[in-house]
């Protein structure tokens, strides 16, 4: 259902770009057979409003649409420029999938990686994201080892490098399987993490072998900002700490 709404929002965005967003235009741009009731439901949900024959976004609807279009078009650029995929049909197919699933922090990383492009290869405008406005130059690494996280950070286990099989199994039997979300609660003397209702302490070698993707949410960012401010003006030690915490804006 959510995917359908996202498709409709996308169709309205494209229709508006071409100048006219009547129900016929929208139906033409939409990738599946649009029922007029869906539009009515979306009006009820305050995603769109109707002005005469034309449909327009509400503030909320526009934000949602912007995110989807951004994901779609950035994926398109990535596939074309970086991976050299020339067939626009194939690109379209991948981008259509990706627009629903790409996590937010990955989109920003792709955008930064591509140098905050303004247009796609087909000259379609790409909505700008927070990373473009901040004109970030460094893409934060998406996948890092657990050891690079700071206290209070949340992340998802992506993979565990199986240095030796029994260690992997031990972690597994605690339920630390790829895909699960963890939180770092202490870094020293041993890295202590929490997931579900379990707390584990791991030594430094183990930690280097566990690879995670950062979960960036508002709370996390504020947490990091606060920490950085606290460290300001703490001389050598502060500088050393700051170096360890870099990787965030």
């Amino acid at each position: 259902m959510l995917e359908n709404i996202e498709e409709v929002l996308e169709a309205i965005w494209i229709a508006k770009e071409s100048g006219s967003s009547t129900i016929e235009d929208i139906m033409e741009k939409c990738s599946y057979k649009l029922q007029p009731e869906t539009l009515d439901e979306m009006i009820e949900d305050t995603l769109i409003v109707k002005h005469g024959d034309n449909y327009d976004f509400t503030h909320r609807g526009k934000n949602m649409a912007e995110i989807i279009i951004r994901r779609h078009r950035l994926t398109d650029v990535l596939l074309q420029l970086v991976l050299g995929m020339t067939d626009s049909g194939k690109r379209e197919a991948v981008a259509c999938e990706a627009e629903h699933i790409l996590p937010h922090e990955m989109v920003d990383s792709i955008c930064t990686l591509l140098g905050h492009p303004l247009y796609t290869g087909d000259s379609l405008p790409i909505p700008r994201g927070r990373c473009c406005i901040a004109n970030r130059t460094e893409a934060s690494q998406v996948i890092v080892s657990l050891g690079e996280l700071c206290e209070g950070d949340e992340a998802k286990i992506v993979y565990i490098k199986p240095k030796n099989h029994s260690v992997l199994k031990k972690l597994f039997s605690f339920g630390l399987i790829p895909g699960i979300k963890i939180r770092v609660i202490q870094k020293s003397p041993a890295v202590t993490i929490q997931f579900d209702k379990t707390e584990l302490a791991l030594d430094e070698q183990m930690v280097e072998n566990i690879h995670v993707s950062r979960v960036v949410n508002q709370e996390n960012i504020e947490n990091i900002k606060r920490k950085k401010e606290n460290q300001k003006g703490k001389g050598l030690f502060g500088a050393w700490r700051r170096r360890r915490h870099k990787g965030y804006d």
Binding site: F174, P189, A190, K197
Partner: protein, 629 residues
């Protein structure tokens, strides 16, 4: 044909409590200490049995997963392979439901009839998750029974649907179902064989078919390993059944106190504080005030005169002396020492250690000590046997099994045999050093730790091998229930006394006989070179040391009795030699059982040489440095 009910689950969920309720049997010493135990095995009490058949209850060691590669895991699999299991109860509490459910799913993969029992008195307090999860999976579940509802409880178990298989398990991963199809009724063996948990000779089925099945299971998930795929699958199913969103934010319910305890800056002062508290509680209060009271007000005032008057009716002088001789008599040195001096101190010590154990402090301590332990070839987990050693070396040697590498086990065993003073020894040590200046205590403790570090460092260099990774679970800190703690402490002290009292009596008798036929005197003369010249101690030390080897605490209690003959310096030296000497006969037997005869002999030889040399060094040290004169 009896009906066998197995109780399985994660440790600390209350399996043993249920076992105790159902069978009325007291848990044994190993079950109490959390060491690997053989799994209690007893018959259900008749009053609870609703059917004609005999119902057997089997307690199993706590595991996280059926495929755990630790002694507990091997034990559980052994029980599964060798018992005709009629039903498996999986114990759950509010906290570790995720992995409990995964474990239950692993039993379901093996087509075992299971049901879930949740313990409301255990950790955590949210049980809606458990109920929903069980309803979703069609798993029979019930609460931990009250004493008057046990019969219904058992009835429910016997009457429960024998194959509560949830479709979810096999729907997403059909390959897992092949384990059952491959050889029905033999799923355990099949699974343990394809996961390499059984030696190949025990997997006596055509190898090519196994290989085929193994490949299928290996390809059924992401990990190219049968065991990883199965564990991963069971957790995924667990998450599906619990309907948890993986993106859910983690509620940080970590107590700040727990974190402080493992930070060096705050943790080390706390650890020192706790040891000092232990000194005050066990050493000052227990070995000082309580023992003094028992000795002066009870034994010397009433019991000894009372026994003397009874014994005086016995016509033979030698029997009189065997019983009441103040030096070697069975009653004063055997029974009174054990009951009057060792028991109260031990009780207080077990109470203190039990409190720390229950509160969840030890894992924090092991995190704190992890890096400090590295130079002596152990990681944070090595602190467990060491701490256990402060209670009883023999028990501690059994817990070295939880260390992963052979190297760690040898080092831990060596340090236990060499340096660690056990509870009775410590108690009596407090008793002896309590009368000296309090720095004597600090001196003795520092020498022990210094030597432990030194010996461990050398052992680490000499013994080859690599240190395994350090992973430890931190259970939430809690205040232990006082009544339960008291019960466990009493039980532990009881087990100890039951075992130790006969040895005390026999040791006294043997020494008495040796003294009668003159062997003791001969030994004293023979070892004079070492004892009086090299160590600078009075000749009576020989009888103390002899008793020490039979039972450590027996020896030091002997020392307490004849301490007027010793100068303070001699007392300190003797206490240290005793602490470094081979602990006791029991520990030697346990060492041979755990490490094998060859390694044990090497360890014992090294320990004997080390302690002899140390005694000499101490003697020279005290001659040069004017301390405790």
């Amino acid at each position: 044909m009896s009906y066998n009910i197995l109780i399985a689950g994660t440790s600390g969920t209350g399996k043993t409590e249920l076992f105790r309720l159902l069978t009325g049997k007291k848990p044994d010493e190993e079950q109490l200490s959390g060491a690997v135990h053989d799994g209690g095995h007893a018959t259900l009490l008749n009053e609870f049995n609703p059917v004609e058949n005999l119902i057997e209850i089997i307690d199993t060691p706590g595991v996280n997963s059926l495929l755990d590669e630790n002694p507990d895991g091997y034990k559980l699999r052994d029980i599964l392979l060798n018992t005709d299991v009629s039903h498996i109860i999986v114990m759950a509490d509010g906290r570790y439901f995720r992995r409990t459910l995964a474990l239950l799913i692993q039993f379901l993969i093996l087509q075992k009839p299971v049901s879930l029992v949740f313990n409301e008195y255990g950790n955590g307090d949210d049980f809606t998750e458990i109920e929903n999860g069980c309803l979703e999976g069609g798993i029979p579940y019930q609460k931990f029974p009250e004493i008057d509802s046990v019969k219904t409880f058992i009835n429910n178990i016997i009457g429960s649907d024998n194959h509560a298989i949830s479709d979810i398990i096999f729907e997403n991963n059909k390959e897992i179902g092949w384990i059952h199809e491959f050889s029905p009724e033999n799923e355990c063996r099949t699974l343990f064989c394809i996961t390499d948990l059984l030696p190949p000779e025990k997997c006596s089925v055509i190898p090519s078919e196994y290989a085929e099945l193994r490949t299928k299971i290996e390809d059924s998930g992401y990990f190219q390993r049968a065991d990883l795929n199965i564990v991963d699958h069971s957790f995924t199913c667990s998450d599906t059944l619990r309907k948890t969103d993986k993106d859910e934010t983690i509620v940080p319910d970590v107590s700040k106190l727990g974190l402080w305890l493992q930070r060096p800056l705050t943790g080390i002062p706390v650890a020192i504080g706790i040891f000092f508290l232990m000194y005050l509680f066990v050493g000052h209060f227990g070995a000082g005030i309580v023992v003094d009271f028992i000795d002066k007000k009870v034994f010397s005032a009433y019991l000894i005169p009372f026994f003397n008057s009874i014994v005086s009716y016995i016509p033979w002088n030698i029997v009189q002396r065997l019983l009441m001789d103040p030096d070697f008599g069975l009653v004063p040195t055997g029974i009174f020492l054990a009951v009057g001096i060792v028991m109260p101190v031990l009780f207080l010590f077990y109470l203190f250690i039990g409190f720390l154990e229950e509160s969840g402090y030890f894992p924090r301590l092991s995190v704190l000590f992890d890096r400090l332990m590295r130079p002596i070839g152990l990681n944070g987990k090595g602190i467990f046997p060491i701490i256990m050693g402060f209670s009883c070396i023999t028990m501690a040697l059994a817990t070295t099994r939880m260390l992963e590498s052979k190297k760690e086990r040898i080092i831990a065993s060596f340090l236990l045999m060499l340096a660690i003073p056990c509870a009775p020894l410590m108690g009596a040590m407090f008793l002896i050093l309590g009368n000296l200046h309090f720095t004597a205590f600090i001196f003795v403790i520092s020498v022990i730790f210094l030597q432990m570090t030194f010996a461990g460092y050398i052992a680490n260099k000499v013994i080859k091998g690599k240190l395994p990774e350090f992973i430890i679970e931190l259970r939430p800190l809690k205040l232990p229930g006082f009544m339960l703690l008291l019960k466990r402490t009493t039980l532990r002290t009881w087990y100890f006394m039951k075992e130790a009292l006969p040895v005390f009596i026999i040791a006294s008798a043997v020494l008495f006989l040796l003294a009668e036929i003159g062997v003791l005197l001969w030994l004293q003369n023979a070892s004079q070179g070492v004892v009086t010249d090299f160590w600078g101690l009075p000749p009576e030390t020989v009888q103390v040391l002899l008793k020490t080897i039979i039972r450590r605490e027996n020896g030091i209690a002997e020392l307490a009795r004849i301490k007027q003959l010793f100068t303070p310096v001699q007392l300190i030296t003797t206490v240290l030699i005793m602490s470094f000497l081979v602990p006791c006969v029991n520990s030697i037997i346990m060492l041979i059982k755990e490490r094998g005869i060859k390694t044990s002999m090497i360890i014992i030889t090294v320990v004997l040489t080390y302690s002899t040399l140390l005694g000499g060094i101490l003697n020279w040290f005290f001659r040069l440095v004017p301390l405790y004169r």
